[in-house]
Symmetry: C2
Subunit: 337 residues, 2 copies
């Protein structure tokens, strides 16, 4: 049976779940694709672990528990090269200003003929066009489901389910954390700070919640979707952006009195003047399809020329679901081998 080697960079909550699910599904990969899919390497910023025969769960557990400081020089790109894998799954932190190490890793993987699956958004926000061209040049795939709302199909929906249609507009509640904060303010009358604190207690928001609540996460997803599905060349700074922190309790009360619900909505729309993309805090009325999209639930709505409109709601927002989205990408690549 043909062997297929996987390497994971960034071994945090999502990376660990990618490794776990991948092992659980090895039998499925054998049956469905006739492939022996094995995880040969994984790396954090300080060090990596490798086994050409496939990393054993005990080794991965020890690696995850190990506290190594960066006292030894470590090059992720060298590590990736030495693994000689077929696909890289990049799950490191999203550094959306520079692309961070993830950008270098994905570039390196594509240049050396590996397929790449991005869960982190940084590299894609900074240079989707470059990475995509690199993938094409080397005849490999660059897949991005995990970076674009993960278990909620977004890039799939635009590129696969609606292939051949002209997409006229996309709008979405793309950030579960932000939607949780707004829903809590509406349903419980608490302030934005209290809602953020609650989200942090529940493990929904990060210790530094700015990436989500200040609209960066939604703006990153909008940038990636515009560039990947509409062929745009937007940078993050092209996207006008709102923050949930603008919302006061008084504002919430006014919205409640008029039957409105606040949502942080990322949108992309074709206009006679070109593509318009933004992240706006909008108070929608009760008939709006997003009005009942509550808590950490995400949603996307698409307008097309000939297939009408589609509304998709749901998809879990947790590391397991994000890992599953990356492994969905893996299966799409496997199905082409």
């Amino acid at each position: 049976m043909k062997q297929w080697k996987v390497v994971i960079t960034g071994y945090g909550s999502v990376g660990k779940q990618v490794a776990r699910l991948l092992m659980l599904r090895q039998d499925h990969y054998r049956k469905q694709y006739g492939m022996e899919v094995i995880l040969v390497g994984t790396a954090r910023s300080t060090h990596g672990v490798y086994d050409e025969k496939g990393l054993q769960p005990s080794v991965l557990e020890a690696f995850a528990a190990e506290k190594k400081t960066g006292d030894m020089p470590f090059s992720g790109s060298d590590f990736i090269r030495s693994c000689q894998a077929d696909v890289l799954i990049e799950t490191g932190p999203s550094q959306f200003e520079t692309g961070g190490p993830g950008l270098a890793y994905i570039r390196h993987a594509l240049e050396t003929g590996m397929h790449a699956i991005a869960v982190s958004k940084g590299a894609l926000v900074v240079d989707y066009a470059g990475l995509s061209a690199l993938a094409k040049q080397h005849g490999v795939s660059l897949k991005i489901s995990g970076a674009t709302a993960a278990a909620l199909p977004t890039i799939d929906l635009l590129q696969y389910n609606l292939a051949g249609c002209e997409i006229q507009a996309v709008e979405g509640v793309f950030t579960g954390t932000t939607n949780f904060v707004l829903t809590s303010m509406m349903d419980e009358g608490i302030s934005c700070e209290e809602a953020i604190a609650r989200a942090q207690q529940l493990g929904i928001a990060e210790p530094d919640p700015s990436f989500d609540v200040d609209g960066w996460d939604t703006a990153c997803k909008v940038t990636i979707l515009a560039n990947a599905a509409f062929g745009a060349q937007l940078t993050l700074s092209d996207i006008a952006k709102s923050s949930v922190r603008e919302v006061t309790r008084e504002q919430i009360q006014l919205w409640q009195q008029s039957g409105k619900t606040p949502k942080l909505i990322g949108s992309i729309r074709r206009t006679p003047e070109g593509l318009r993309a933004s992240v706006e805090l909008l108070a929608v009325d009760s008939a709006h399809p997003f009005a009942n999209v509550k808590g950490t639930t995400k949603a996307i709505r698409v307008e097309t020329d000939v297939m009408g409109d589609l509304l998709v709601i749901g998809g879990k927002s947790d590391p397991v679901a994000a890992a599953a989205a990356a492994l969905k990408d893996l299966e799409h690549i496997l199905s082409l081998q």
Copy 2:
């Protein structure tokens, strides 16, 4: 540039739209896939028309207008063979008891190494497993989006967007006509007969509405989805089935008083006793995700092991949208060439 030849069987409302959209998109196929996609043949039950250089719109128009009776013997399978095309798009009437001519056409296409795209459901209901095995044996694709709710992604959703997940349950409002009838009864207090008559006036229901309102259409889609996405081996007679004609005005009033909404719901669910599939008339409460799916709108809800639940609502229900779904399948095949 590589040429790709298409033949359409069944030149009714959907077939005509397939031909029209295909011509509109030829430039797109050239740019996206480097393929010159041409329509070389199309056939009705009585006769066909063929041009190896591609049928001109004027020829197609004359063919559509021509009233030919079946006085000359005509074999669709011979016609398909003589076209020497790369893909068959079958859009004839759905004969769900025998599979009708469509079954023979699709079998013939697959056996001679053509890809096949089914819009009509009959062949798939009668022998999905056989056709699928035939496609595999000859290394070609059998695609079925147009036969499984068309512009509403169903088979894609289960096989592509949720690849790698275990799908635990699927339920859907799969028939626009039926939903229109139920919605009209609820919103306007009219009888089932009146609602059906209105749907016929609007071109939503067929002159013989039984296929839709008696649950056959939904049962066909459930059968196909269960066999294609769950590997089941169901026949249409395995599916318990309800008809919208059971609903009286008195029943509607009772549901209204208790805040319920009737929906014809097709469902497939894994249970400890095996796969359970049915078509039921259910009165859902106002919090149910289908409660606000009104008129001809369709919807599907999927429960998974690791990606959570997904709800998809929308997708136009008209011949253009059905044609677009078939051409989506065409693009998925083109992307593999």
